[in-house]
Every structure is written in C-alpha cells, then in structure tokens.
Symmetry: C2
Subunit: 728 residues, 2 copies
C-alpha cells in the first residue's frame, strides 16, 4: 500500500510567495500534485514553475476596483430593513443604516426610492403610502409623516454593498489594515458582463501556467449583513439566501420573465428575510429560479472562455455560490470541471460528492491555515491544536467518503503558519495517504447498503440535499441527523412535498424521515396543511412504508392537532393549546426493543422536545423523561412509525438511527450484516474487491467485531482515529 | 387573646350520623358554630338539635332521579367530538362514544342530528354536508359516505350526561358500589324549573332546623368528560368551561336573544373545546353571557324561596358554579348570603375574599376528610399525614387572609376519619383559634400596602380574577405568580384587553403584569395583534408606567417579532422563525440590582423559557442560563420594564417579585417599610390598631427583623408555621 498512488496525488497545497522552500518541501511531503493561491496570497515564479498543476483563484465580482468605484451604480445591492423606530409624535426620522456596518453598506438613492422601497407601520402591519414619507439622501434618513403615535416604523430600502463580504471578512480577520476595500460588481448589467468577460480573457492570457481556474465562485455571495455594534457583529447570515441578487434592473427583468413583480417585502419579510430555515414562498422560489437561470447562462459564458483557453474551471462551493445551485437541474449546464467544498463534517463531504454534472470533486479540509477559526477560536497560534482539530474533522468527513467518494483533498490559507506545528505537518502526510487508499478502494466499487432507500422530506427537497444552512448548526435536529446519515450504509435521497404530489414516493424508498421544528423548512411548515400531502403520507405508511419523525414532524397547528401525522406517529405534542385535555397515560417506558439493542447508558438527544404524549395504548414508549415520551414506536396499517423527540450526532445515536431505519422499514431481519459490534467503529464492505474498511471514530484504540454476510464476527483492533482494511 | 371570640365561631363542621358523640365533641373542641352535611352523609336528629347552626346541602340538578329517568330528554347535555377515525375506503363508521365513559354519556338522538350535529373531515378541515352521513341511533354509530381515503373524520354530537359528574366522582372515589347513579337535569326547561321550584319549597318546609341552605351550587358543573380507558380517565376537564350548558333548547333561545346562531364547532373547536386557558372567542363570550343571564335569573327565583322561608342561601364556589360568575356584573343579583370556596392556596382565599355582593365568605379547608386526595394520594388512611398537609395548605391560605379577610372556615367529608389522627384534631383546634385572631385584627383595618396598584392583564380580565383554571396548576406561570401576589402587600386587580381599550389604564395602576405562554388567555394571544392595545401599552410605559413580562409576554408572531412589546421589554424570543438572524450579545449577567438584593443562591423559575435575547445594549441582564437571559430590566421612555423567563411560587421568588414591582413602578425608595428581613417570614401592618402580624411560612423556627415605618428593624422569632403579633 505504499506505492506512489498512495503517497502522491489528489492533494492541493496552498502556496505562498516568500515561502518557496516551505511550499515545495511540503508539496513533496504531503504528495501534492497541485498548488493554489488563496485570498491574500500570491504564487511566485519559483512555485509556479515547480511542475505541479496550478490552481489560480479568481473572483469575478471583485476584479476591478477602479471600475467599481467609477460605476457605483453597478455595485451589488440588497434590501435591508431599517431597525424599528417608535414614533413618539406625528412624524418619525429613521436613520436607515443605524445599526448596520456602514463600511459594508451605502444607501442606494439612485433608483427611485418611491418605486423600489417600502415603509411599514410594523405595529399595524400596514404599508405607508409613498406620499407620506421622504428620503433625505445626504443624511440617509427617511422621514415618515402623519405617524400613529407609539407605532413602530421601518423602511425596506436598497443598499449597495461597498465592501465585498468575504474579502471584508478576510481583511478584518487577518488584519489587512489599510488595504483597499474591494467592492462587488453586479454581472446583471451588460456593461459589467462586458467588463468581466474582457477581464477574464486577459487574465487567462496572463496566466499561461494556470491549469485550473478556481472560481470563488460565481457572482453572488450568500447573505451576510454586518452590524456596527460589537454586540451584534453579524445581523443576518444565511448560506442559502438570495438577498444579494437583488437590483431594480433584475427585478424588472424578473417581472418581464415571470409576468408579475416582486416587492421589497418579498425579500425583507418583516425583517426575517428569506432564510433557508423557513419554508420558501412560491414567489421567492420563482426569484431563485430566475437568478439561477441568469447565473448559469452568464456563468457558462465565462467557463467557455476558460475552456477555450485550454484550462479547466473549478467552482468553490462556499462563498459566491448563490444562484449556481449544484443540486438544481441547470447545474450541469455550467460545465464546470471541478467542484471544491470546504468541509468540517461528513454531511458536507456528501454535499460535494453527491453533485451531478461535474467531473472532479475536491474537499478543502479544516482547519484553514489561519491563526483563528470561524468562531475566533485559536488554531494556528498560541493555544491552538490544529493536528487534533484536523483529526476530529477528518474522522467525520471520512465516514461520508466511505459511502460516496471525492477525487481530491486540499488545504487553504497561509502555509507559513504550519511551521510551528510539526505534528500537524506529520498528520496531514498520514491523512493524505489514508485518503488516497480509501479513494482507491472505493473507485468503481459501491459499498454494501441497506435494501431500501431513506428519503428525507423537507420543504426544499433535492435542492437542499445534505445541507441545512452551510456548516454544522449544532442542535439543529436535521443537521445532526444528516451527519449520522452521511456515514451510514444506506442510500439517502432528499425529497420535497412537491415531489410527493407530483411524482409520488419512489418504489425504492423504505423509510421517510421528517425531522425538525415547526414551522421550519426542515419539518415542512405550511405544507402540512395540504390535505394531499397528508393523504399521500397516510396512505404510504398504511400500505407498508416506514416513517421516522424527529422533534416536531408534520407539525403545524390545525384541525385540533399539532402533529398532522399524529395518527400515524401515535404521538402528538402539547404546546399549550389544549391544556385542559388530559393525555393518555402511557405504560412505563420499555427500552427492550430492537431499536434499543446497542444502547448503553443514557440516550442524549440534546435539547429535545417536551410535552409529547401518546394517543393511545398502541404506541410503545421506549424512552421518556418527566413523563414525556422521547422515543416511541407505532404500527399504522401495514406500516410503522418511529418518533424521536430530538437528535444529536453521536456514535450511540447513529447506531440507534440505523436500527430505527430497519425497524421502520420492517426489515429487522436484514439488519446486522456488515456492521460493527463497537459503536465507535463503523465499516464499509466493498463487494467487488471483497474488502472491508473499518474506521475508528474515537480517540482511543478500539476492539470491534465486524459482522460479515453470514453475521459471523471478525475481530479487529483499530488505533485512535485509525482505519483497518481487511481483505476477505 | 383567649376569650370566647377566639375559641368559638366562624367554623363549620361536617357532621356525620352514627357519630353523634364525635360530632358534638369536635364541635365543642374546634369551636364550631355550624354543622353541615356532605355529599354521602346525613345529619341525625341528635346533631341537628345541638343548638348549632345547620347548613344543609342541596344540589338542585339532582333532586329527583325518578323524574330524571322518566324525562331523559330534560337531562343536561354537551357537545362531544368523537375520536378521529381514518377512512381507509369510501365510507367510514364512527362509533360516537368510543373512548368515552359510557356510564357518563348517552348519545342524544332525540334532537335532529342533522340540525344540531356536524361531521368534519379533519384532514381538509371541511364540514361534510348532512346528506353524506347518517346516524344509526341503536348502535350510536355515524356512517360517513363518499369519504376521501386516508382522511380523518370526526362527529360533533350531542350527548346527555346520564351520571352527574361530581356525584360520579364521589361515588367512584368512595366506592359507593351499586348506589343509584344520579342524573343531572337541565333547568333551562320550564318543566324542570317547575320541578325544582316545587321541590325546593317542599325541601325548605322539610328542613325547619336548617338555617343555611348550601347550594352545591347552582345548575351547571364545570366541564369534566371522562374516558373509558384507565390510560385516559379524564379526557377534558376545565373548571371555567361552559360545555355543560348546551342544549338545542338553549341554543335556540340564544339565537333569538343574540340574533345569530352558534354551531357545534363553536363549542368543540376541533376537539380543543373552549378551554379557559385559551383566548375566548367573541361568540363564546356571548354564550357565557347568555347562560349567565339565565342562571342568575332562575337562580334568584330559587334564592328568593330560601329567603322567603327565613333561611340564608350560600353558594359552594366549586362544583356547579358555571354560569354564576362571582366576578361578573350580575352576581350580586343572585342575592346569595354566603359564598364557600374550597381552598389549598392563597390565591383561592383571595378568589373567595374578593367577590362583591355577598355577605359571608367561608373557606372549606383541605385536606377533605376523605381517605384520599384529589390526585389519589393517601390522606386519612395509612401513609397519610393530614396534620402536616393541613399546615402546609394553611400557611399559604393564611398569607392571602392577611390581605383580604373571609368570615368563616370549615371542613368537609367524613368526620369519623379524623379519629385515627389525633394530631390533626389538635392542629385544627389551634388553626381555628389562629383564624379567629387574625380575622379580629383584620376587621375594619386595611393593612399597609404599596403606594401603587398592580394590574394583571389577561384575555379574561376581571371575570377570571385570582384564577387560571381551578386549583393550582403547578408550572403554569400565572398561577404560580398569583399565588405570590395573594400574600404580598400590594393592591391587585385583574384587567382585560377590552378594559384597556374601553376605559384605559387606571391612574392608581403602577405596574402591569403580563404573564404566560403564547397564545394562552393569560398572555393574551390574538389580542396582541390589536394595534390599539400595542399603542396603549407602549404609551403607558413610555409615560412612566411599569411593565413586568413573564414567560412569553405579549407573544404572538407578527410583524417580524414574537413579543409584540419587545421594544418596551428590551427582549424578544427566538422560536425558530429567525434562526439566520444573529442576536445581540448582551454583557455578562450582572446580578447586582435592587431587584436581586435579597436573593441567596440559585433563582429557580421552574420550567422557564429559553431562546430569549436582548434587543440591544440598553437591556440589562440580571440572570441568564446558557446565554439565554432569565431576568432583564429595560427603561423605555419614562417607564420601566422587567422580564422574567418564568415563575415559580417560592419565598425567594415572592420577594424578588415584590422588589421587581417596586422597581418597575420606579418606587424603589418606597420599598422596605413593613417588610421582613427573612424571606420565609412575611408581615402585615394594620395601621388602625397599630399592630403587625408576622407569619412564618416555613416548617422551622425563624428569626426575622420587621422593618417599621422608619425602616427600623424589630427582632421577632416565630415558631414553625407560626404567627407572632406585635402591638406597637
């Protein structure tokens, strides 16, 4: 296993000018076959000439700051809602940017505010007619007249972004001092498109040694509105939201294309904006579609230039990815050659690995070579332990890669920072070899999986496969759950309520998972008011399907119940709407059940849901706390349902979920093949090569039995965070 | 203090035939001046002739079971919703009483079901037209035709109650075996009224020695629907609900009186019925008003007979009290002479003491002389400690009586049960003397109170003064809070949203308390969507008022916020609707504040609310948990707001609330007069007699300082559960 294929390749190193020796030495040691630059670093001639593939980063929306400064009407915009102001008289002044980071935003007074803005009385909910307010553009203040005393007023207004968010983050995080603030230009305008295309052509000519053009990424960054108070640095952050794609120009095009116009409130939504966590409105989905169509069309023109220059185009699936929608139907039309995803977790590895229509998939591992991490914690500085961080991230990512492979890994940031952390340098070498080994085994070989597919039902469906909202949100049930699913030997798909209505539930689906809190996009919110959805789900379970409900599945208050599928789940939840109704007193929790067989000690679902009650004696309670069931099973018709009051990613819960899936599917007898006795270990069986890969997710040496296709146990010992490969 | 006035009077003893010696001995010992019978007991001649006042119990709706049996169409009725049934074909049979206790209910097939019932598809929410279903009266089954497969169906139907609930409870609890089941007749019919009036006249003649007719009570019991499964013995219990007042006859009268008709769904409400915990609909309030008018009018005819017979009429404010509404404007028209309330707690003492339009108020103390308590716990049997129970109840009740007095106390149940509990007998003697002493001091003397009134704002307002829903609901924030308020030296009133809109907020009000969970009647629910309410409350605080919000004050999701008064409170709550919005990072909790001065150790608010966040740096956080503020203060205009994440009745929280009231009112300097240093003790200062009563609420001897009108501390020692009286 020590041939060149395992010690070199599939690894992208961040080069750094001024550290040429280090760059080349580590390229050799880590087996890098490609070198990249990063935001804030450059590659010197010496590095570029070292015979490795060169990735060069390009961010098309911040290519020419001089032009941007000269054409501020072509900067990207977004709607903001001013902070509410109480009227204590018959007029009120609203300082639009009060509370916002004024280095990020500038009020757009160019496009007629009366045409594009809205002022609301947020006490009555009424819009204020345009003749009752005026903007003082010099002061950025809107005055509302004839106010109702003691009401709250807000303005939905357009702001230009005068500092591109990712660049701003890097600038501030890395103390770039008085380096120029880069502004994001909007490619929606013909003039901007022309600028971008000409720039790109020139850039491609100027980068003869670049083989891979790494787009960071396309045009629109996820929503990230900053505040001016240290107490509220970030006001709104949503990795999937389309706030930054808005402009009067685009809104006019939308109205023409879709036949109706959107208003500012479609985006602002009372100040909640259009968060990915919330169920998207049909109008917002139309907007996303409109933007996606544009981004794919114009993006393709850029990528065609790259291809014409004999280079490949890779997309960084993190920053300005909005509008590309890798899980959308148009993504393949972009014709990207590669996709790079920045990952901490297994679900993110799956998010990258699962994209169709792109050849090469690459993971940017963490920690980044920055002094501090995303939350300000030390990494490559005093107090940090980047080697341990790296191991902890990797064991989770690795689980996902056993199921679905990627082609490459890599790092990002400032290479020189690793010099003080020799154990990190050692571990990355080991990790690189491990990655290549596992990639080789997975190549062309599909691991053993359950004889049924698991469908995760959300309001977003396939479009938001394997994500909730960017990186892991600890405590968000679905995020925790997909992290377990990412490494389980089951096929997983993500379906929407529209899918159920339009195409039905696939024959291969054995279990549907609905997981989240009401009325989130993850649980489904208003979709559970759709009687056709309720019919379909009821019928499907009655005829033999399996349902796993987590947290507040099918929750929305209607028709006297909270869980709309309570008749299927056998449980409902008291949320203070029916306090005078007594609840069925279930029998004492009985943990002796197929699902519970590998549980040792307490089951920890994190901050789970309370006030749950069973509907009758045919619901079996497996776990409870203070009288509130935490895990239940219920048979409905020919099908089965399992309820969990919450979910947290952990070895024990991953196993419990694995078993629950088999029980819900009515396939208990099929369980136990190619599983491990020790829950801190997992395995993947590759039938073509007849090999089993056993991974140890813990920081200790673990003994485990791998149960084979006859459920015979094979004893294995695996080192901390380690891997064992058994040829059968 | 040992004169006769303290050893005799104001005490009602439950007599028991067969135990004449015991009855008379205890009457002497406990200083009883009256003897009563109970449900299930009778008084013998010997007892009746002992020279004590005689209370005789009468329940007018179960006076003549023979007549009831012969006129089952005159039994009381209520709407029930059948349990939901899933249609798995194109028709579904619904067994109406399935799940209900068939000894309590009988389907009413006399009044045309098509006219009075409704069948609902509870998946779509649609009513099924009457030609699509039929009742088989013999089997009590409704068949619904042309059902939509996999939908849930329910029937709202009328049922006669064939076993009166209180009698049923006593029968079953006390194992009355094959004693006849008493049926409740409905006084809405002229024939029933005639029966009742004639019976009452005869009964009054037949009870010449009875001085007090104790009505138990008027006509309609609170809602109490029983189930047939041991797992769901009580399906629906609501002490304030009007479900039992329904009949086609009354519904027709209502339609004529109010000009519009109610439907079954107005009562059934998707199976949630019209719980007191929920915000009442205008239509339901109209129904309550209609019933109240009838009950007062016919009730008065009964009471007039009592008065004509030279007797007094007392009402038992617990069982069949629905429709009397002691806090309603018509109550005085009933002309009751006395009101008897069964109490465990201080707020119940206040509930009785605060009623206007009745001369004598009496508390029925707990424990009842029954072998087991309301929750089945042992009292007067092996394992019970009724003396200790009695002390624990009394110390809470006593707090309330220091503020507002009642005239009498008493016991209920089977007297012979006390024979095995001599310490109980001793303690009741002591308690009686203590009661008489405190009553004497309070007589004509108003204790010192805060220089401002506290108004508790709920959807019910004055009508539900001092109650949430019957006895203490532990964990219900408002119930816990009014228990603290019951004994605090502050004037308290209960106001509704309508009061605010119609008459404004009284000049004497210094603090408004809004306490409860969304969207309960206690917090206010939909009323917080009323902009006039928001205006008034905002203005009132801005101009110097104090607001205390507990749990989810002013909560309803609208206009981008959850607490509609978040601008006043300085806090809001994240309930999963705006997860992508970051929250202001408040400064570390700083418990050094006027409100916190007497806090020692942890503050325990029970199951309080999480996910709270401050709106900005001007909100001061006094307590937090896991980053979620639990107590905050915020100044708004000239006024102040205090937020508490929950509330539990305890000595520490009572003190904390007392201080919070003064802080919110901006009257800190007025705090500290006639208070105790030791939070387990409380005091009441009576200015006319210049005396202080100091009570010890704990089971240990306590040392305390009583601060006088110059804030000088007077040292006092008070025994366990004891009282000390200081003449100044």
């Amino acid at each position: 296993m020590s041939s060149d294929v395992f010690s070199r390749g599939g690894f992208t190193l961040p080069g750094e000018a001024g550290y040429e020796d280090l760059t080349l030495a580590l390229a050799q040691r880590w087996g890098a076959d490609a070198i990249r630059d990063s935001d804030g670093t450059v590659l010197s001639d010496e590095i570029v000439s070292a015979g490795l593939d060169i990735y060069s980063t390009i961010c098309l929306v911040r290519i020419d700051n001089q032009w941007a400064k000269a054409h501020t009407d072509k900067l990207q915009q977004n709607y903001l809602m001013s902070f509410p102001v109480v009227a204590d008289g018959n007029a009120v002044d609203i300082d639009l940017l009060n509370g916002y980071f004024r280095e990020q935003f500038e009020v757009n007074a160019n496009d007629d505010p009366k045409a594009w803005w809205q002022v609301f009385d947020r006490t009555s909910g009424r819009e204020i007619s345009a003749d009752q307010w005026d903007l003082d553009p010099a002061r950025g203040i809107v005055t509302v007249r004839n106010t109702e005393r003691w009401h709250l007023y807000t303005v939905n207004f357009l702001a230009y972004r005068i500092w591109e968010a990712i660049s701003m983050y890097n600038h501030i995080t890395n103390n770039w001092g008085d380096r120029e603030h880069l502004m994001p230009i909007d490619p929606i305008y013909p003039a901007t498109q022309e600028l971008i295309l000409r720039y790109l052509e020139r850039w491609l000519r100027d980068h003869p040694r670049t083989r891979i053009v790494r787009f960071t990424s396309m045009f629109y960054n996820f929503a990230w509105f900053w505040g001016d108070s240290p107490g509220l640095r970030y006001i709104y952050s949503d990795w999937g939201a389309y706030d930054n794609t808005v402009s009067p120009y685009a809104l006019r095009k939308f109205a023409k294309a879709k036949g109706y116009a959107l208003a500012s409130e479609d985006f602002v939504n009372g100040g909640a904006y259009c968060s990915s966590h919330n169920v998207p409105a049909r109008r917002y989905l139309d907007w996303m579609d409109f933007v996606n169509e544009f981004v794919v069309a114009f993006g393709r023109r850029c990528i065609d230039l790259v291809h014409a220059a004999g280079k490949e185009a890779y997309m960084f699936y993190d920053d300005h990815w909005v509008g590309t929608e890798p899980y959308g139907s148009r993504y393949k039309d972009l014709a990207f050659d590669g996709l790079i995803k920045c990952v901490f977790n297994g679900f993110e590895a799956r998010l990258c690995a699962g994209v169709e229509g792109v050849e090469t998939k690459e993971l940017r591992l963490h920690p980044y070579l920055f002094p501090t991490g995303l939350k300000g914690e030390p990494t490559f500085k005093e107090g940090g332990n980047p080697a341990l961080d790296c191991k902890r991230f990797w064991v989770n990512v690795r689980r996902g890669l056993l199921r679905e492979p990627v082609d490459r890994i890599g790092l990002g940031g400032y290479l020189h920072l690793v010099q003080d952390f020799p154990d990190f340098v050692d571990y990355v070498e080991e990790l690189g070899k491990e990655f290549r080994t596992l990639r080789e085994i997975r190549k062309g070989d599909k691991p053993y999986a359950a004889p049924f597919t698991v469908a995760v039902l959300t309001a977003w469906g396939k479009l938001r496969s394997w994500i909730c909202n960017g990186h892991m949100i600890h405590g968000l049930e679905l995020n925790e759950l997909i992290e377990s699913l990412a490494g389980l030997p089951v096929e997983v798909e993500f379906i929407s309520f529209d899918d159920i209505l339009e195409t039905g539930i696939g024959d291969d689906v054995g279990v549907i998972v609905n997981c989240g809190r009401a009325p989130s996009a993850w649980s489904g919110g208003r979709h559970w008011k759709n009687e056709r959805v309720l019919e379909s789900m009821t019928e499907w379970v009655a005829q033999g399907g399996g349902l796993i409900g987590v947290g507040e599945p099918s929750a929305c208050e209607r028709n006297g119940r909270y869980f709309q599928l309570s008749h299927v789940l056998g449980v409902d939840r008291e949320i203070g709407r029916s306090l005078s109704k007594d609840k069925f007193r279930h029998r004492e929790a009985d943990a002796r059940h197929f699902i519970m067989e590998d549980v040792e000690g307490e089951v920890d679902f994190g901050e789970d849901v309370d006030g749950v009650f069973v509907l009758g004696g045919d619901t079996q309670v497996l776990l409870e706390r203070d009288g509130s069931p935490r895990m239940c099973t219920h048979r409905f018709g020919k099908g089965r349902a399992v309820y969990l009051s919450g979910y947290r990613f952990s070895p024990q819960n991953t196993r419990l979920l694995h078993r629950a899936l088999y029980w819900a599917a009515g396939r208990e007898s099929a369980f136990g093949y190619w599983t491990c006795s020790n829950i801190y270990t997992e395995c993947a069986y590759y039938p073509t090569s007849n090999r089993v890969v056993v991974i140890n997710n813990s920081d200790k040496e673990e003994q485990t039995k791998v149960f084979d296709s006859r459920k015979n146990g094979i004893d294995v010992s695996v080192g901390p965070f380690g891997v064992a490969i058994i040829d059968l």
